[in-house]
Symmetry: C2
Subunit: 254 residues, 2 copies
């Protein structure tokens, strides 16, 4: 059965997350059911590079999908976009997957962006896409504090209670904070992240940006490895999965 890679954009707002769950509609269910007409009427099996939580968006999620039919990747993309309407899930491109390739296990780099709307008035056009923080944040202080988290560490202080990873050692390659007008963007990249790691890091950096904690605090939390002491888990709606990197680049058709 041929395996394809999909490059997928979605608005996470109406979904319980990437992963199928009995409690509601997931992005995975939308894609698997959209593929049924190409898969002898049965939902296709998928796996994603990043299992995003409820409310988290994607601009470049990478998904593997196994389909009974052998067909041109462009036709697969168009068929999935037709059958997944009107859900806010769009297949931007498709590719035949290399042999033994897994969207999740072959992935060697993942990137996220977190958006904070830092102004007095609540969001209208950006509702559901940003974390609204009314008090002015010092983005430069957040950036300086963030640099203390780079490198290979035990990130237990920033993992979710429900995180199922066997160990908490991760290598953080990038954690940049910069202001863009009324917004503050946090860009981060690692081979992989723990559950809630990005949102816990952002919530912690926000405490520094508000002036409530010193620049040294995020690193002290990291060293303490106690997840009960970190800042709030920043809301899901500000987070977007940007990209997944693989040793051999995928040959997207579009």
């Amino acid at each position: 059965m041929p395996r394809y890679a999909l490059l997928v954009e979605y608005d996470g707002t109406p979904f319980v997350g990437w992963q199928r769950q009995a409690s509601g509609l997931s992005v995975q269910q939308v894609l698997e059911e959209a593929a049924a007409p190409l898969n002898a009427g049965r939902p296709a099996a998928t796996m994603a590079s990043g299992r995003t939580d409820a409310g988290v968006h994607a601009e470049g999620q990478v998904v593997q999908i196994d389909i009974a039919l052998e067909l041109h990747p462009d036709r697969l993309r168009d068929a999935l976009n037709f059958h997944s309407r009107p859900h806010p899930v769009s297949v931007l491109a498709a590719a035949l997957a290399p042999p033994d390739w897994s969207a999740r296990f072959s992935c060697i780099g993942r990137g996220y962006r977190y958006r904070i709307l830092n102004r007095r008035a609540r969001p209208a056009l950006m509702a559901g896409r940003v974390w609204h923080v009314q008090t002015p944040l010092d983005a430069e202080a957040m950036h300086a504090a963030a640099q203390g988290l780079l490198g290979r560490h035990d990130f237990s202080a920033f993992r979710a209670a429900a995180c199922q990873a066997k160990d908490a050692m991760r290598t953080l390659d990038r954690l940049e904070v910069r202001r863009q007008g009324e917004e503050i963007h946090v860009l981060t990249e690692a081979r992989s992240f723990l559950h809630h790691q990005v949102r816990n890091m952002v919530g912690t950096l926000a405490q520094v940006g508000l002036g409530r904690r010193p620049l040294s605090w995020p690193r002290e939390l990291l060293d303490g490895r106690d997840r009960r002491k970190a800042g709030q888990n920043a809301p899901a709606e500000g987070l977007t999965f940007l990209f997944a990197r693989y040793p051999q680049p995928l040959r997207w058709q579009d």
Copy 2:
């Protein structure tokens, strides 16, 4: 009764447009009812610089509002944002209006942006914010053709059948088309526009961008003054009201 100016952002998707209508909820109704607690319990009277249609968004609509209470503009902004929840309407700033000032009749310049998503895959994150055109558009050709519309002309060819303006003479100061990645943005500015003028101009330029009409066509249409011959009225959802200009700048508090 003191008059205030409001700088307003809204997502036009759920509204019948700016203007109050019996057929459904308008942005005007949301703001007027949100002001009632500050206006002896009665909805306040408002007027906008631009009466946007159903589905059209705003990043910088300017609205006048007459309120029985004299209060600090910041308090007015915060109160309107509190009482207008959960509708996607947000007052970014407020100001005491200069004497004899009208949001509509004092306005000497209005600016709009039109967004086209020009890619094969339908929008997910940008659904409701862009016109989706799947066939590649030549933005440079559209820009070149647009320049023929600048200046003072009778824009009858680009007005809506229902347009109530007494005459169709308008002065178009700016009509720029540029590509930004997968999107094409059309930026336009004039003292005032006819009903549907921006969307009719965009629909006409798209015909040039698709290569179906020559660069000279939009100007020929203009000169012909026959509105039945223009390109399609581009969908409302791609249009955003950006700004309104006045002879004396408003002193926004924020």
